[in-house]
Subunit: 362 residues, 2 copies
């Protein structure tokens, strides 16, 4: 059946490594000799303990995290984190700096404001349709954290380096670029990511917290919304999304054992993006929408000379087995999402198609 | 591989219908000719629209719900509902009645109190270790809702009928008995259920809301925690837990098309429970822990003459392919969870084993 699969450039839910899907499929009626599907196994069993603990251990190894970090698997996607972050970290009198670099940043800011929290938007690229990453930002030294959306899935921009925030910890939404490149974990107070882009299927959010951030958490917030609840209970205060966590575990194993770790993955991601951006030129048939130096390695956004040509491009590509190339409905145009599981073969097939399409329609 | 599967009496995550698991397995690398796994398909695609809308339609048909109800698929399990219910329905000046019939009721009450909401616990069976369902309850006529945990997974008790609350809508946690019996939906303002018992895998919570309840929802609560967000966006404000929703869709299809609807399922559930309770007697080898008339059709809890015998019973049963019979860690003893997917064959195998075990060890 795998030979009928397409090259999937969806923004999320997105392509997963084929060996991961095959392993899930193969063991689906009988997980590790339990006589049950992974969907039927108790989350209080040794079978599931092994799954979640292996996923945590691999995360720590891959990111080089010390014992000063907790790895959590939470419900609610990154969108629930937009609410939990200010609720947990901004008790009365505290403030935070937020960077506004696109749709998801804007939503994070909105959720802090709904709760009446005192936050400062210290930089925004709204003036140019979020087509660039702000530089030379002045941060408030007394901020409790700085919130950064590391990669902007919709606008196709990405922080190539994280800004220097001094001693203020960064809280970063890495939903669309977690595990795609090496990081200096010491800078971060919280890293969070909805799984459905670089990590696994939809339905679970990874959150990595530096333990001292837990000192900020008030006692009187709803139990499910407190980071303390989930660090105390190893993400099993209530029944966790077991299948999604199991899938993430297999993706992490694939990164570590098949791909050879994050540095190798990053090298490949840079080569993939270089190849694809190489097709663009400012006045050419394919025009990248991100400013120079701000383009994402994960979500490559571009326009064709007309909307009609874009429609034809997306439809013709799908007919050739290249799916998911439509831009987000809020911005239009085209987008190729090329997360870790997207192979160089898929990029080459796309670039070949783009060249042929330009010849036939340019 | 299916012949090596066990009879699974887990309390949740729990047994799923084998045909459902087989359908998931079979299509796992290529969903409906999309060339993608269901875990890779966009939630904004027609493929996924068909899944979620079919799940909603089947829920409405199976429960006989009119257009005055919305069906939602939410993140966070029933435990997040404990927080969302008072946040959405108890604006300043409003009160609610809660019934305390065991662990999960107690948690629901705790989350209302954490938010400083004005609630009244109008009945409790705490005085006898939650071994019975309270009767003749006096409700407050000015309550906004009455909260009822319809089935108590841990204590093995269940409301055989819902109490008469007059014009006050019932808000019910049905995590462990949804779709197990027919209901008069008109009584309910909200029905919610974590999927991992009667509905599907862990990772999604079904919530069915009567539309007029939405009038109670304040505007200034976090977006992800507002029922209005999820009814407005057909449960796709953010990326939903697609795989879990797909699995629920297949379980609902199985209830409707293979089992013949809820009335048929209820008939079978009553026969299954009768057969199992028939093994118990007040002074016998197997002693039910729920009082007469309060026993659950879903979670059958019982004790043996000693804890050592209970340990041996659980281990010997597993060796015979009967798994998940350990009681909840908070109460000990034994428990057979016999949700919709548990067949009469499984019950017969368990009863046969119980008789043999009693002969050998009694």
């Amino acid at each position: 059946m795998s030979e009928k699969r397409i090259h999937n450039f969806n923004a999320g839910p997105a392509a997963l490594p084929l060996p991961v899907l095959e392993e899930i499929q193969e063991s689906f009626l009988n997980f590790k000799g339990s006589g049950m599907s992974i969907t039927e196994v108790s989350h209080r069993s040794n079978w599931f303990d092994d799954v979640i603990n292996d996923a945590i251990d691999r995360t720590k190894r891959l990111m080089g995290l010390g014992d000063d970090f907790h790895v959590m698997f939470l419900h609610g996607g990154a969108s629930l984190q937009f609410c939990m972050i200010p609720m947990n970290f901004l008790a009365d009198g505290r403030t935070a700096d937020y960077l506004d670099t696109g749709t998801w940043s804007t939503k994070a800011i909105k959720e802090a404001k709904i709760q009446g929290k005192n936050i400062n938007v210290v930089a925004s690229s709204d003036d140019k349709g979020y087509s660039y990453i702000p530089k030379n930002i002045e941060f408030n030294k007394d901020a409790t954290f700085v919130h950064v959306t590391s990669n902007n899935t919709i606008k196709g921009t990405q922080f190539s380096d994280f800004p220097d925030t001094g001693n203020v910890p960064i809280v970063s939404d890495m939903s669309s670029d977690i595990f795609s490149r090496t990081l200096d974990a010491k800078k971060f107070g919280l890293i969070y990511a909805g799984a459905q882009k670089n990590l696994g299927p939809a339905g679970v959010c990874m959150a990595i917290i530096r333990k001292d951030m837990l000192d900020l958490v008030p006692d009187n917030i709803p139990t499910m919304l407190s980071y303390k609840t989930h660090t105390d209970k190893n993400s099993m205060f209530n029944t966790p999304p077991c299948f999604a966590i199991y899938s993430v575990q297999l993706v992490l194993k694939w990164i570590e054992e098949t791909m050879g770790g994050i540095a190798k993955v990053e090298e490949l991601n840079r080569a993939k993006a270089d190849k694809l951006y190489g097709v663009f030129s400012p006045d050419g048939f394919y025009r990248g929408t991100a400013e120079n130096g701000s383009g994402s390695l994960m979500n490559v956004t571009f326009r064709l000379p007309s909307e009609d040509l874009e429609k034809k491009f997306i439809a013709d590509a799908l007919a050739k087995g290249l799916g998911g190339l439509k831009g987000h409905r809020s911005v239009g145009g085209c987008r190729a999402s090329i997360y870790n599981p997207t192979s160089m073969t898929a990029i080459e097939a796309l670039v070949d198609f783009m060249k042929t399409f330009e010849k036939d329609n340019g």
